[in-house]
């Protein structure tokens, strides 16, 4: 009977193999102790086991908070994994750029479009990665992060993963379709593009594996510890959530300035780039804001 309970309990657990072994041994020990104690007080062995199991609680109820703890550990790994993949992506781009430094003025439309899509995607990945990191840091002192917070980290990391994939693909297409100077070797470009694609693919596989093990969304204990200095990024995001336009304007201006510098043209020539970048920042906030928990969704606004 105890073995049957342990099998049921094992089925409910969404934890690592080592934690699973430890929990099952502990629970088995507990049930045998409880059963022995009842037998010692004169209860029939079968009844003693039944009583011990009933007193322990339903497998799903006991497993749920353990799953939430394991889920908290898992989501804390996501931002570093995304960041590593992002760094490999940039390293691959720089490697490729050494052999083919910039998109030539005579570049085809496909090259330009791929390059621009990739440039936007990498910014989305950066923002989504920061969002996930801020949420993880905000809950760092709590052994169990709230289910809603874990969901923000998962969604943000998923957005970052897709964006890194788009960036790797976009830059690879831009490299393939770019006009090349006669006599240049393409070894660096191939190596850089390969590194970018491997980084994106490895991230996608890792994310798919980790998100597949998603547990039931149990809440942790209600009392929460102050995040202290680690909560600063989350407080900045709370400001963005409250005043999205006011907070997005500096980001758009900064993005415009970077775009103008990158365009390396006169101020008048760079203005369209700056305007496009500013529009991308606002568009990104509008489109991805609810997924990244940077602004409330339409349904949340209506219910509020």
């Amino acid at each position: 009977m105890i073995d049957h309970y342990l099998t049921e309990f094992d089925r409910e657990l969404r934890v690592s193999a080592a934690t699973r072994r430890r929990i099952l041994v502990e629970v088995g020990d507990h049930l045998r102790d409880a059963s022995d104690s009842r037998i010692a007080s004169g209860i029939d062995p079968t009844e003693a086991e039944e009583s011990a199991i009933a007193a322990f609680g339903a497998p799903a109820d006991i497993a749920e908070p353990l799953n939430a703890q394991a889920a908290t550990t898992a989501i804390r790994r996501l931002p570093p994994i995304v960041a590593t993949s992002g760094m490999l992506l940039v390293a691959g781009l720089l490697w490729a750029a050494r052999s083919h430094p910039a998109v030539a003025p005579s570049a085809t439309m496909v090259t330009r479009a791929s390059f621009l899509v990739a440039a936007l995607a990498v910014q989305v990945a950066f923002v989504a990665g920061l969002r996930a990191s801020a949420r993880v840091l905000g809950d760092w002192r709590d052994p169990v992060a709230p289910a809603a917070h874990r969901d923000v980290v998962r969604r943000s990391s998923a957005v970052a993963t897709v964006a890194i994939g788009v960036a790797a693909g976009g830059w690879t297409v831009a490299l393939i379709t770019a006009n090349h100077r006669a006599g240049t070797t393409r070894t660096g470009e191939v190596a850089g593009a390969t590194l970018m694609l491997i980084a994106a693919a490895a991230l996608a596989i890792t994310m798919a594996t980790m998100l597949r093990r998603r547990s039931a969304e149990a809440e942790g204990p209600t009392a929460r510890r102050s995040a202290g200095a680690l909560g600063v990024p989350e407080r900045v995001i709370a400001f963005v959530q409250r005043y999205p336009w006011f907070a997005a304007v500096p980001a758009a201006l900064l993005g415009s300035a970077i775009a103008m510098v990158h365009a390396e043209t006169s101020f008048a020539g760079a203005v369209p780039w700056g305007a496009a970048e500013a529009a991308a920042v606002f568009g990104g906030l509008w489109l991805l804001g609810p997924s990244l928990d940077l602004r409330p969704s339409r349904n949340e606004q209506l219910s509020a």
């Binding site: 929990i23 109820d61 204990p221």
Partner: protein, 108 residues
Amino acid sequence: MSSEQLKGHLDPLVLAVLEGGPCHGYGVIEHLRSRSDDLFDLPEGTVYPALHRLERAGLVTSTREIVGGRERRVYRLARRGKASLADQRKQWSRFSAAVSTILNVSPA
């Protein structure tokens, strides 16, 4: 007292039990039951998520040891756990004093 009423208070209770000495999970439940005069009617299994949570927070430590001829995971109060327990005792004193005051003076 149901497990719902105990929600949020289980962690300091477990720390208080471990203050009396190292203990395994089943022992923690027995202490909670006996020290509350059987008032705390919570599923015994709920103590394990609490113990694991406290261990992750660095408030308790655990080792596998032989207890009563059987190998068991034994939990100990860590230094940070002692400080946390003292802090939670102060918070509870203030909270319970405030609740008692209100319950005594407010009309039903």
